[in-house]
């Protein structure tokens, strides 16, 4: 079997391939949405978590009769694939309470796509003590639900082992990102997106092995990307396809860091290993995943509020020597779009130029976007 980036490419081109093989061997595969699904619990019961994604290259043809055109285009694309049978290999699906779009999709998916298992994990919007307690109780319900489905017990030991495996994965992804710090970076933003997509499509142990191979291969490269004047950070909503980032990189920039759902968001933290693994998962997922759907109470001035909410973006920018930011927000994403003026104000205030792009899924015209990106890069120079 091929290893490293060649294997990543194989999986990226045919995401379901590996899990279908595992299914043929008798494993059960559970599809899930969003970085807020606690994959540790799924792995702990020896089910294979498989991130549900859309298809940027496939037009939406079936969804219009099931989910309104005012809904998030990414979720519409995911549903479209499912309606066409593209997710029939899943034994079940899990959706967390991420946003209005996902909440609505849960019922629609469950009604129209028949899997053996469906579960909704409710996630509070705030970081109050009661929210952590509630989330832990909700994870206990999720645990019992998975136990019933699988017929296997999820012990504390199994959960702890699963947390360790997923923490290891997060650490490996962060190590991979370190290789983008040098100028020019050792691997491109498009390559990283492919790696993340492959990792999310593979059971954790195999994915960790894959990551180790990729890191080794990239470290051994004699030279990385072409040096370019712009080192960009891309922030925003779900982007599971390389089209946009590749276009940016072809326009004269290196994308060296991101704040994306298919990027740093699920990997830039760890779950504490403790005697109460569900409490640890609840705390980490709620507190450490920087998603605008989670409200962070921040008394003080407006500037202090921005610092608390977006300080991590500036930390990224400094750490990865970023000199410009693209804010890529999918149309109809209320949580990100309501944050956008604040994010822009904060980053511009820190001296970073920001280009905001309203994305669609599939992207209608990369050429039109390319013109805007090129103009932005010219402005930066």
């Amino acid at each position: 079997m091929v290893q490293g980036l060649a294997r990543v490419e194989q999986i990226y081109q045919d995401r379901g391939q590996r899990v279908k093989e595992l299914k043929a061997e008798g494993r059960k595969v559970v599809g899930y949405f969003c970085s807020l699904t606690p994959v540790e619990v799924i792995t702990a019961v020896d089910l294979v978590p498989y991130r549900i994604m859309g298809n940027m290259r496939q037009p939406i043809t079936h969804t219009d009769a099931y989910l309104e055109t005012i809904a998030c285009p990414f979720t519409r694309s995911c549903l479209d694939i499912a309606l066409k049978g593209g997710y029939d290999f899943l034994d079940g699906f899990v959706m967390p309470h991420a946003c209005d779009n996902i909440v609505k999709l849960y019922d629609i998916w469950g009604y129209n796509i028949k899997h053996s298992y469906a579960h909704f994990v409710n996630v509070p919007h705030t970081l109050s003590p009661a929210s952590f307690e509630f989330f832990e109780a909700e994870l206990e319900t999720f645990r019992r639900s998975l136990e019933r489905f699988s017929g296997r017990e999820i012990t504390t030991e199994k959960l702890t082992r699963s947390i360790q495996l997923h923490n290891e994965q997060r650490a490996l992804v962060r190590t991979l990102y370190q290789l983008r710090k040098q100028d020019p970076p050792l691997l491109s933003g498009a390559e990283v997106t492919k790696v993340i997509v492959a990792v999310m499509s593979t059971p954790v142990t195999e994915a960790n092995e894959l990551l180790r191979g990729v890191i080794k291969e990239v470290k051994e490269r004699s030279k990385g990307c072409q040096k370019k004047p712009a080192r960009l950070m891309v922030c925003g909503t779900g982007n599971d396809d390389i089209t946009f980032i590749e276009m940016v990189e072809e326009s004269g920039a290196n994308v060296v860091i991101d704040d994306l759902c298919f990027g740093t968001k699920p990997y830039w933290y760890e779950v504490e290993v403790s005697d109460n693994p569900l409490a640890s998962i609840a705390r980490s997922y709620l507190e450490k995943i920087n998603c605008p759907r989670t409200y962070r109470q921040s008394p003080g001035s407006h500037q202090e509020d921005l610092e608390k909410r977006f300080g991590y973006l500036y930390d990224f920018a400094k750490e990865f020597k970023v000199n410009g930011v693209i804010l890529y927000i999918l149309r109809y994403c209320d949580t990100h779009a309501l944050d956008a003026p604040d994010v822009k104000e904060y980053l511009v205030g820190k001296g970073l130029p920001v280009l905001e792009i309203e994305g669609d899924y599939p992207t209608p015209s990369p050429i039109r976007l390319k013109t805007r990106v090129q103009a932005f890069l010219e402005m930066m120079s």
Partner: protein, 438 residues
């Protein structure tokens, strides 16, 4: 000279509903007076399920969605919407939110009220109270965004509901406990902001009042089952104001008692909304186009009346275990039971709580057709309607019309196309009714 403004609101049938405009003006006047006296004013959302707490603390609540709706009715929303767009908020966002964000931005820029703002304008708040609920992300993101203009103390209350497929017995305790704890958190926040202590006896009193009010409101709407329809939806989108914006006040209770009396009188004397009631329609779970409520009168011109609606409907009366005496626990139990009222039924039938409710109303109110409205800027309520229609059709062949428009942004509305759709729909309803009775 300004051109005359087009008529946006519908002709109302009940005398009580005709008083709402005055009540809304009084709400605004109360807020202006509060501002002058230094009484705390809280921005808040409709259907937050904690109105009693605000009232018991002596805070003046101001429903910001309500004010956005008023701007739309007065055809004075566009300048605020455009301002919000100029500030970077895309036009697909909730137009309640963008209308008020634009208003906030303009008020800050001008250092005072935008000139000619409806009802003297929206006062600068002392605090903003959002809610992190199952749906409606703008309920916490909007106020967070508004902090760039307002920068006042803000609190987000967590209120979650299980999905339809959840086993209520398994999850009920921790869902109710969560809401109770969050309500305590809200009380703590309000005490800190106002320097006042909660008077728990007063909260019990206000909670009693709210529960009595909800019951009278519910009972008044039960009377609307009568034929001919005594009170239409265009009245109900007004008569909801005391229930959703003044809950926990004597005024709200008196209002619904009077509404009950008037509807009963109309039922007893067979006074209908229109003289020749041919078709009885139901307005589904859809927010109305506030700039175009006159469309209800267009339906009536074709012989169609709306005896009932799902949106803004009073919450169903529910039982609270007798052992529950603390007012916060009572509110939490009541909220849970109301929000899950149709869950078990929906779970058994493999449908959706709203569809179960639709089916009940269709039967009880002798409905011949269902009308939904897709508000283009609201994903909260207006995604999932196609799914509701699909499930409804599993149990009923009742005609369904899906109109397109918005809540506030008239730019998403085409009146001529809407009338064409209504004309065609009425023909379908007519055929359906004849088929049903043949």
């Amino acid at each position: 000279m300004e051109p005359p403004k087009e008529k946006t609101s519908a002709e109302k049938s009940t005398e009580v509903a005709k008083r709402i405009r005055r009540l809304v003006k009084e709400m605004a006047a109360e807020a202006h007076e509060a501002k002058a006296k230094g009484t705390p004013i809280a921005y808040f959302f409709i259907v937050s399920f904690y109105d009693e707490i605000i009232r018991a603390m002596g805070i003046v609540p101001w429903g910001t969605e309500n004010y956005a709706g008023l701007c739309a009715v007065k055809m004075d929303a566009e300048r605020f919407l455009l301002k919000a767009e100029a500030e970077g908020y895309p036009n697909y966002l909730c137009s309640y939110a963008t209308c008020i964000l634009g208003f906030d931005a303009m008020r800050r820029e001008l250092g005072g009220m935008p000139p000619g703002a409806p009802d003297g304008g929206l006062e600068y708040p002392s605090m903003m109270l959002g809610t992190g609920m199952m749906i409606c992300d703008p309920r916490y993101k909007w106020y967070q965004a508004a902090q760039r203009y307002n920068n006042v103390p803000m609190h987000i209350h967590g209120l979650l509901t299980p999905t339809t497929d959840a086993n209520l017995q398994e999850v009920q305790d921790y869902y109710i406990k969560y809401n109770t704890e969050e309500l305590k958190g809200l009380v703590d926040f309000l005490e800190r902001q106002t320097g006042r202590k909660m008077d728990w006896d007063q909260l019990s009193h206000v909670t009693d009042l709210a529960e009595r009010t909800q019951r009278v409101w519910w009972e008044a709407y039960q009377l609307r089952k009568a034929i001919p329809a005594p009170m239409p939806t265009e009245d109900a989108v007004n008569t909801m104001v005391p229930g959703w914006f003044m809950m926990g006040t004597q005024l709200a209770l008196d209002f619904y008692q009077e509404l009950y009396n008037e509807v009963k009188y109309r039922v007893d004397h067979k006074i209908g909304v229109i003289s020749d009631e041919k078709y009885r329609l139901m307005w589904g779970m859809s927010l109305p186009p506030w700039y175009g409520l006159v469309l209800f009168n267009y339906f009536e011109s074709l012989g169609a009346v709306f005896p009932i609606e799902v949106v803004y409907h009073p919450p169903p009366p529910v039982d609270i275990p007798p052992r529950i005496s603390h007012p916060l626990e009572r509110i939490a139990w009541r909220t849970f039971n109301q929000l899950t009222h149709w869950h078990e039924k929906a779970r058994k039938h493999g449908t959706d709580p709203f569809v179960e409710w639709f089916l009940e109303l269709i039967e009880d109110y002798k409905i011949d057709g269902v009308v939904l409205h897709q508000a283009m800027t609201c994903r909260t309520i207006h995604t999932g309607q196609l799914h509701q229609i699909r499930m409804l059709r599993k149990y009923s062949d009742i005609p369904v019309l899906l109109l397109e428009g918005d809540i506030v942004d008239v730019r998403n509305y085409n009146e001529a196309a809407t009338h064409d759709k209504i004309d065609a729909f009425i023909e379908v309803v007519d055929a359906y009714k004849k088929r049903k009775h043949s």
